[in-house]
């Protein structure tokens, strides 16, 4: 079901455990009707009519209210981690019981209430798997106004923004060493005035900020970073090829994220290669967040070898 803008719910709600409620109501109406009609008292019949009216409204009104209620997702974070609770803000025109189905979550009541309003409004918590979510599938239910019979309905609510659920941080795969003295890309840079600063080089995208060498940058009139280790300064290509099985893919993604984060912590620039819906994507990842987003979008690739491949530029190592 495509997410529907505006959040108005469908028009065909279904009652929950209707048979039991209907049988009880039918028994009550039958007894009252028998007593009223055969007792000969007009007021008894009038009271029975009131009870019938209340029962009818109690059984049918929730379906009508559910059809007219408007449920809108008002807020959702742009990023999340798989398995960690995510709060999605909701606003509803009526009091509803909401059970998130996809992503799943515990039930919550949203809508107008007697108590003090929560500072952030009504929210529901979901536990999402790795992936990108543009909408949420919710099961909404109500029994208003008399609480006699619950009616429920599944609805897809569009999220205000895309929710990227990154994999959890898994164990890192050891990075390959630079065998053969591959010079890599370390170089000595010269400043604009011709001076040579040992162990510094111009800033490249992806370099950690803590390695910026400010005196050298002042001299060179451009950002310069320290070269700590020739090996760590080499860009590491992390190629992720996910399997089709969702659980195995999540596990592999977790390990990939752990590996990327470990490399980033050591200061190595990382080039992440993943397969997305638009095709293969190669690009540096500056931090955990960007790596998480990339891995959230990663899809399995058919016809290729599954696994996690790490290599430095000029050398090749396999793992995974």
């Amino acid at each position: 079901m495509r997410p529907r803008p505006g959040g108005r719910l469908g028009t065909f709600p279904k009652p929950v455990r209707a048979v039991r409620s209907l049988l009880r109501a039918a028994a009550l109406v039958a007894v009252l009707g028998f007593v009223a009609h055969n007792g000969g008292a007009g007021w008894v019949q009038a009271l029975a009519d009131l009870v019938v009216g209340a029962v009818a409204v109690g059984l049918l009104a929730p379906g009508l209210l559910l059809g007219r209620a408007v449920l809108v997702a008002t807020a959702s974070p742009p990023d999340a981690t798989a398995g960690m609770p995510v709060e999605i803000g909701l606003r509803c025109s009526a009091r509803l019981r909401v059970v998130p189905l996809d992503p799943p979550g515990p039930e919550v009541f949203v809508g107008p209430s007697r108590g003090p309003r929560a500072p952030r409004g009504d929210t529901c918590v979901v536990l999402a798997r790795r992936g990108v979510y543009g909408s949420a599938v919710l099961e909404v239910a109500t029994a208003a106004p008399f609480g006699m019979l619950w009616w429920k309905r599944q609805v897809t609510v569009a999220l205000p923004g895309e929710l990227c659920v990154a994999p959890r941080l898994g164990p890192a795969v050891p990075a390959p060493s630079a065998e053969g003295g591959d010079p890599g890309t370390t170089r000595r840079t010269a400043s604009a005035s011709g001076g040579v600063h040992g162990g510094v080089r111009p800033y490249r995208a992806g370099d950690p900020r803590h390695r910026v060498h400010w005196p050298a940058s002042a001299h060179a009139a451009e950002l310069m970073v320290r070269v700590v280790d020739a090996e760590e300064d080499e860009q590491v290509v992390v190629e992720v090829s996910l399997p089709s099985d969702a659980d195995l893919a999540d596990e592999l993604a977790e390990r990939a994220l752990g590996t990327v984060v470990a490399l980033q912590d050591r200061g190595s620039p990382v080039l992440l290669v993943t397969n997305e819906a638009a095709g293969e994507r190669r690009g540096p990842v500056a931090d955990r967040r960007s790596a998480g987003r990339r891995l959230a979008r990663a899809l399995s690739r058919t016809g290729s070898e599954v696994g996690l491949t790490l290599r430095r530029e000029g050398s090749r190592g396999r793992s995974g």
């Binding site: 007021w43 008894v44 209340a54 029994a143």
Partner: protein, 713 residues
């Protein structure tokens, strides 16, 4: 799942209910049910008060112990409920139950006690549902004995509290959900609409099955003269008098229901309800009949006979009465009469009464089918009559007495009194023969005479006194031809007798307005009526109402409309209507006041400043800010300290500052407001100036310039 496990699961304690509003609503429904039963005299004051107190105390107790219900209460409450059941069955067996009301009263006591006992063990929402159900049974028991619209306030109160309770159930289920006023109004109106639709669609209720029909003597006094008619129940020992213009009249002003019916006296009847009748169809309910007419008054020559003892009483058929046949099957008509006013000891009934349920040892019947009670009938008396009414068609009646048919001597002798004329009056006989000259059967003659009366006479109760020595029928037929039911029916009866047709005068009540809520006919005093019964061979006495075809004399449309409107408005109980209107008005006023309430402290203080400014003849302008207004007030006051402006600064600081209205700011505002008011007194132009001017004029007129003060401008 085993049965034991299922029982345990069903009886496990539910989640404690914390909503006080829900408990109050459910307790309120119970109290409404108890009040309704008390209003219908099903509960004594002591029982009603005790059960109501138990409901209130139990509700409070259950709320306080909701998180830790006292387990010892369950066996105690079970024992209390068991005692109530034992008392109920003992009350049934210890008294002779005449009718279903003898069961309803002990039932009401039982349910009231159960409601009070149950209130002590309602920790969870599920238990409160049983409270609602219990209140419903109380209301049904009360409604079973309700016979007028006075039950409506109890029903509406209970319905409102029940709806509030149901809404509270939902609010509790949804963890504090709040329904908007629009949703509540929609729910209530939908409920009322469905209820009304069901009420309209369903047929009227009826008492089915052969159960003990309602009967209640209401403590009527035993009449000393067996079979005699007595007064209105207020003086059971006095014989019934026909009434006179100078003396007391019968109940509601009707001059019948006595041993004589004076047709010369016009009634002055009112709209008061005399009795209420539940019947399967509207009928003319006969009180008694008269067979002897002396020209002015009717009387009866029949002597009462006691029916065999025991209720129900089987009424023997009248002379030549109709017996159910294949050609003329009888239609059963069950009627229950609820006395509202003291009434003569006549047992009213539709034609052909067959059985009477009356809580007395013996019942009297006259040969004219009049049923006489041995006790006086006061308010609250109830009796039931089942009639087997044969409804022959016009053709059958015409065929029963064709032209040339002569009554058998035995029949004629038995009906001798119904053939007697008051005296020789050739004009009446001549008129009757002329009107029926072309008619073949007796039935056609009756119809012709009724048609002639309808075409040549007028109805009115405002008639001049009868001239001395002139008979009623003579004056009516050959005088101004204006009269009321007793005169019209007497004229028809005399004309028929002049043709040799047995006819008699019947008095009773016509069906009053039907109340669809109570399913009762409200018989008012003005519904008292007189009509004619004509004897037909094989079918007995058949009723004919000539007054029905007589047009009213010069009815005034305005008076008629005003009368009907006053009648409708008069039927509305003033106290509940006034309470409803007053409550609605108060509710609207409170709602408006609530909507206009200040939303913040700053707004409240601003309104006080504006009020003070209006008193000082300086209202705030439409586009004037608070600061500008305060400066204007300072300019108008004699105080140069600028307290109004300082107050405005404090209010603005509280409204728009980071801290909001702190206690310090509030105290400053109150102090500044007090100072500003005291330094800037309200204007008193006009009255004091007028007084000063008078005192000045007085001073001048006295001849002394005493320096009268110039009035303040």
């Amino acid at each position: 799942m085993r049965l034991v496990d299922a029982v345990r699961r069903a009886n496990r304690p539910g989640e404690p209910e914390n909503s006080i509003a829900l408990r109050a609503a459910c307790a309120g429904t119970g109290l409404a049910g108890i009040a309704a039963c008390f209003a219908e005299d099903e509960l004594s004051l002591a029982v009603a008060f005790a059960s109501a107190a138990a409901v209130v105390a139990g509700t409070v107790f259950s709320h306080l112990t909701r998180t830790h219900p006292r387990q010892f209460m369950k066996p105690v409450l079970a024992a209390g409920a068991l005692l109530a059941c034992v008392a109920f069955f003992r009350s049934l067996t210890s008294q002779a139950v005449y009718d279903v009301s003898g069961v309803e009263d002990p039932l009401a006591v039982l349910f009231a006690w159960i409601q009070g006992v149950h209130a002590f063990d309602t920790p969870a929402r599920r238990d409160l549902v049983f409270t609602l159900a219990g209140s419903t049974t109380l209301m049904v028991v009360a409604a079973a004995q309700a016979t007028d619209l006075g039950f409506a306030p109890y029903a509406l109160c209970w319905a409102g509290l029940a709806v509030a309770g149901l809404c509270g159930m939902w609010s509790s289920q949804s963890r504090g959900g709040r329904a908007s006023a629009r949703q509540i109004a929609g729910s209530v109106s939908s409920t009322a609409a469905v209820a009304f639709a069901v009420l309209v669609a369903l047929p009227a209720p009826h008492i089915s099955g052969r159960v003990d029909f309602p009967q209640n003597g209401a403590g009527g006094a035993l009449i000393t003269a067996p079979g005699g008619l007595v007064g209105d129940g207020r003086a059971a020992s006095e014989p019934a008098r026909p009434g006179s213009p100078a003396g007391p009249t019968r109940v509601g002003g009707f001059l019948g229901f006595a041993n004589r019916l004076d047709t010369a006296l016009s009634p002055a009847v009112g709209d008061e309800v005399v009795m209420r009748v539940r019947a399967e169809r509207p009928s003319y309910w006969i009180g008694e009949t008269f067979d002897h007419f002396d020209g002015i008054s009717w009387s009866t020559t029949d002597l009462p006979v006691s029916l065999p003892a025991g209720s129900p009483f089987v009424v023997p058929p009248s002379i030549g009465g109709a017996l159910p046949t294949d050609a003329a099957p009888a239609t059963s008509d069950l009627q229950t009469f609820y006395m509202v006013q003291s009434s003569p000891n006549l047992v009213f009934h539709a034609d052909d009464a067959d059985e009477v349920w009356f809580p007395v040892r013996n019942l009297f019947v006259r040969a004219d089918d009049s049923l006489v009670s041995p006790i006086s009938l006061g308010p609250g008396a109830i009796y039931t009559v089942q009639s087997e009414v044969a409804e022959p068609t016009a053709a059958e009646l015409a065929g029963s007495w064709p032209a040339g048919y002569a009554l058998r001597p035995a029949t004629a002798d038995a009906l001798r009194a119904d053939l007697e004329l008051p005296g020789p009056d050739p004009r009446v006989a001549k008129l009757a023969r002329a009107v029926t000259a072309h008619d073949r059967s007796t039935y056609e003659k009756v119809e012709s005479l009724i048609g002639w009366i309808g075409a040549h006479t007028r109805y009115s109760t405002d008639i001049p006194p009868l001239p001395p020595g002139v008979g009623t029928v003579d004056e009516f037929l050959f005088g101004d031809r204006i009269g009321f039911c007793a005169q019209i029916s007497s004229a028809l009866a005399v004309m028929l007798r002049s043709l040799g047709v047995p006819a008699r005068e019947a008095v009773g009540y016509v069906p009053g307005p039907y109340n669809p809520i109570t399913d009762l006919y409200d018989i008012e005093a003005k519904d008292a009526h007189a009509w004619v019964q004509v004897w037909f061979p094989g079918f007995g006495w058949q009723s004919f109402d000539p007054t029905a075809v007589v047009p009213a004399a010069n009815p005034a449309p305005g008076a008629t409309i005003a009368h009907e409107a006053a009648h409708v408005l008069g039927a509305v109980p003033p106290l509940p209507a006034g309470a409803v209107l007053g409550g609605a008005g108060l509710g609207v006023a409170l709602l408006r006041g609530w909507r206009r309430r200040p939303r913040s402290w700053a707004e409240a203080v601003t309104r006080r400043v504006e009020r003070a400014g209006r008193r000082r003849r300086r209202p705030r302008g439409a586009g004037e800010t608070l600061s500008e207004y305060a400066r204007a007030l300072d300019a108008g006051s004699a105080d140069p300290a600028g307290h109004w402006s300082a107050l405005a600064d404090v209010v603005l600081a509280a409204a728009y500052g980071p801290t909001g209205p702190t206690p310090g700011l509030r105290a400053d505002a109150e102090r500044l407001l007090r100072l500003a008011r005291s330094r800037h007194a309200p204007r008193t132009v006009g009255r004091s100036a007028r007084l000063d001017w008078r005192s000045a004029r007085g001073a001048l007129s006295a001849g002394g310039r005493r320096g009268a003060r110039r009035p303040r401008s």
